[in-house]
């Protein structure tokens, strides 16, 4: 469905995308992960024909992007990070305006608007001005506008920035639901938990380079060990700071939480003994697979994603 070969994009002497290869199949929810400035938004912009590139080829729906841009755009949609809508128009006026731009008229207009509204649960707000909607509702309207042409490919550029956890959850499940309709989604984010939650496949970009890509489970299985989170009933940061010096691979998360990386039974036994000696009762121990975050850190040697 999307095939990128040897893509190079540079401007003002800076390489934004360094000979990227990427393949995304139909019906896949694909995550593009990377810190700010990694090249995610540039890649999405290129895929939508909004930014030119210097080298490489891009095929979408089996068509060359540069030669068939208009036809490709008619079958895809771009949902920008910012709220690309009109605050002084109502929900329905916004939808009618953007449908009009795409020459969607008559019965098709009614169908498209109904589809966009129902997917995003905007029925109760259709007559409301966009300015009066909550942050989450505005985000859903932003997505609804992108659904008017019933696209086969949806490009989302960090759609959950600045919204509350509840709305974020709703938006993520909406995006996940596109899989049922066999739609392809390209989802950029620097929130790794979001990528883990909704994506089938992912690519990690760093400074314009593709550092890893593939099915998410495969990528995570690459690192064998698990980590464990130990929550304590009570403790102090000072006690924990002294304790981590005695056991390797232990990190202090907060005053009551420790993280044991690459845990094994020897390390765990040693930590439990140390906790007992310090008379620190354990509330619970959670074992977790290696997260995308730890994979990202190991691949890019960064301490944090938002660098």
């Amino acid at each position: 469905m999307i095939s990128i070969k040897n893509l190079l994009k540079s401007y003002d002497g800076h390489i934004a995308l360094n000979h990227i290869d990427l393949h995304v199949d139909k019906g896949v929810i694909f995550g593009l992960l990377g810190p700010n400035g990694a090249g995610k938004s540039t890649l999405v912009s290129i895929l939508n024909g909004l930014t030119a590139f210097q080298e490489g080829t891009i095929e979408i729906f089996g068509m060359d992007l540069q030669k068939n841009l208009k036809a490709i755009r008619r079958r895809s949609t771009f949902i920008p990070q910012s709220l690309a809508l009109y605050e002084n128009l109502s929900v329905i006026e916004n939808l009618r305006f953007f449908a009009g731009l795409q020459n969607i008229n008559g019965p098709a207009l009614r169908d498209s608007i109904e589809y966009a509204i129902s997917v995003n649960q905007l029925h109760p707000f259709i007559e409301q001005k966009a300015a009066t909607l909550s942050g989450g509702q505005k985000r859903r309207l932003n997505i609804a506008i992108g659904l008017l042409n019933k696209p086969e490919i949806l490009y989302f550029d960090e759609p959950t920035i600045g919204i509350d956890p509840e709305s974020r959850g709703e938006i993520l499940s909406t995006i996940r639901s596109f899989k049922e309709d066999n739609k392809t989604v390209i989802y950029t984010s620097h929130y790794m938990d979001e990528i883990e939650k909704i994506c089938d496949e992912a690519a990690i970009l760093d400074h314009g380079n593709m550092v890893d890509q593939g099915r998410l489970e495969t990528m995570l299985q690459g690192t064998k060990n698990q980590s464990a989170v130990i929550e304590l009933v009570f403790s102090s940061r000072l006690q924990l700071a002294q304790l981590v010096q005695t056991v390797t691979d232990v990190k202090v998360i907060d005053d009551n939480t420790l993280l044991l990386e690459q845990q094994d039974s020897t390390k765990m036994a040693k930590l439990l003994t140390a906790l007992e000696e310090e008379k620190l009762p354990i509330k619970q121990i959670r074992y977790q697979s290696v997260s995308l975050e730890s994979l990202f850190i190991s691949l890019t040697n960064r301490k944090e994603l938002n660098v």
């Binding site: 912009s45 909004l50 930014t51 008619r74 771009f78 920008p80 910012s82 690309a84």
Partner: protein
């Protein structure tokens, strides 16, 4: 605490380039332009008003009047030939301000109390009252001096050094000059409403720079324009979608301002506006002005990075074009170099077009040049805006 607040406020203002431009650069430029425009207006060494003198009397006295005119420091003889009535009308529609005809037999009756032969003064209809008064004052002074000399010559043998002081009417030009404003009926005079409304219509139309660029920049910053672009909307379509509504808004502005001049101004005790005889001519000029104003707005909108920048630049451009273009100061008050500069301001073209319709009673043919110039100017700016916007889109700015 208060000191900290003061320091913070100064730092913020000093770091705000647009505030600095609005506070310091704009007034400085404005002062420079206005000073240049008004330079020598009240000085005595600059000829402000252009005239032609048509001497049908051909006496030594009429030649004396011509010589006195030549010596006047505020009058300047019109350089082009004015051979017939048609040429005179054309000249009055352009740069000539006054045409004074000395009829046959005028100087013979110079000393008479109720002369039958009157001076005939043709006045360009866009001449403001201040300029007319200035000319009348100069004319009065010349006539008074010559009349005094004539009378003294006649009376000297009889009165010697004695004689009554002349009465008020003796000096007045009112009883000796018949004034006719070009393009108007005899006895009809242009009102301040007639002269000022066109200026404010032009000025008001260019104010669409502010709302138009604000909306445009908001759309750009919110990526709404990028979204439209991703929906296969081309730049010309995008521009057309903005230009047409704002041109309609401009036409509504013109209708509203003309209506205010016709219906509201008289309620406040001033003369009503008379809209001239050519709706087509009025439409041509206002459409040309609209294209020029919209072109300026779109260029500013695509070039500016922020709304603050656009409103500062927009306000500055509007005031400067107005100051240069004769909106705030009539062009004939300006020095020659500023008058030449005024010819580059689209506001000046628009103003001339409106004056042709409102004051000079002219029609579509006469405003075609101004309308085409305005349309060309606006189109050129729109094309430039297209190039700038296309470049920005390709760079992903």
């Amino acid at each position: 605490m208060f000191k900290a607040m003061l320091i913070k406020e100064f730092i913020l203002v000093m770091r705000d380039k647009h505030a600095l431009a609005a506070l310091f650069i704009m007034p400085s430029i404005f002062i420079l332009i206005m000073s240049m425009a008004l330079k020598d207006t009240f000085g005595s060494d600059r000829a402000l008003l252009q005239y032609v003198l048509i001497d049908q009397d051909q006496t030594s006295m009429s030649r004396e009047i011509a010589r006195a005119f030549e010596e006047s420091k505020i009058l300047r003889e019109y350089e082009e030939t004015v051979a017939d009535h048609e040429q005179l009308q054309r000249a009055l529609n352009n740069e000539l301000h006054f045409a004074l005809t000395i009829p046959k037999g005028f100087t013979a009756q110079l000393a008479a109390e109720n002369p039958s032969s009157l001076l005939h003064l043709d006045v360009a209809s866009d001449i403001r009252q201040e300029a007319l008064s200035l000319f009348q004052g100069e004319l009065t002074s010349i006539l008074m001096r010559l009349r005094m000399e004539t009378m003294l010559k006649e009376l000297k043998p009889l009165l010697g050094d004695r004689g009554d002081a002349p009465g008020k009417d003796f000096f007045s030009t009112d009883t000796r000059v018949q004034i006719h404003f070009n393009g108007m009926e005899t006895g009809q005079i242009p009102t301040s409403t007639q002269q000022s409304v066109p200026s404010w219509i032009v000025f008001g139309m260019f104010f669409i720079i502010i709302p138009m660029s604000t909306v445009f920049i908001n759309e750009r910053k919110q990526n709404t324009l990028m979204r439209m672009h991703a929906m296969n909307i081309s730049i010309p379509t995008l521009f057309a979608g903005k230009i047409i509504p704002y041109m309609i808004i401009n036409q509504i502005q013109v209708c509203l301002m003309v209506a205010v001049g016709i219906f509201i101004v008289p309620l406040l005790g001033a003369e009503a506006l008379t809209p001239g005889n050519s709706i087509t001519g009025l439409f041509l000029v206002s459409m040309g002005l609209s294209i020029a104003a919209v072109g300026t707005s779109v260029l500013i909108a695509v070039s500016a990075s922020t709304i603050e920048q656009a409103t500062t630049i927009g306000g500055l451009v509007n005031i400067l074009l107005g100051a240069i273009g004769g909106i705030m100061v009539p062009k004939f008050f300006m020095p020659p170099i500023m008058q030449s500069l005024a010819n580059f301001s689209p506001m000046s073209w628009g103003l001339e077009g409106f004056l042709d319709i409102f004051l000079r009673g002219l029609g579509p043919k006469d405003v075609l040049l101004e309308s085409l110039a305005l349309t060309g100017f606006g189109t050129a700016l729109l094309l430039l805006a297209w190039l700038v916007f296309d470049h920005k889109i390709k760079r992903g700015v």
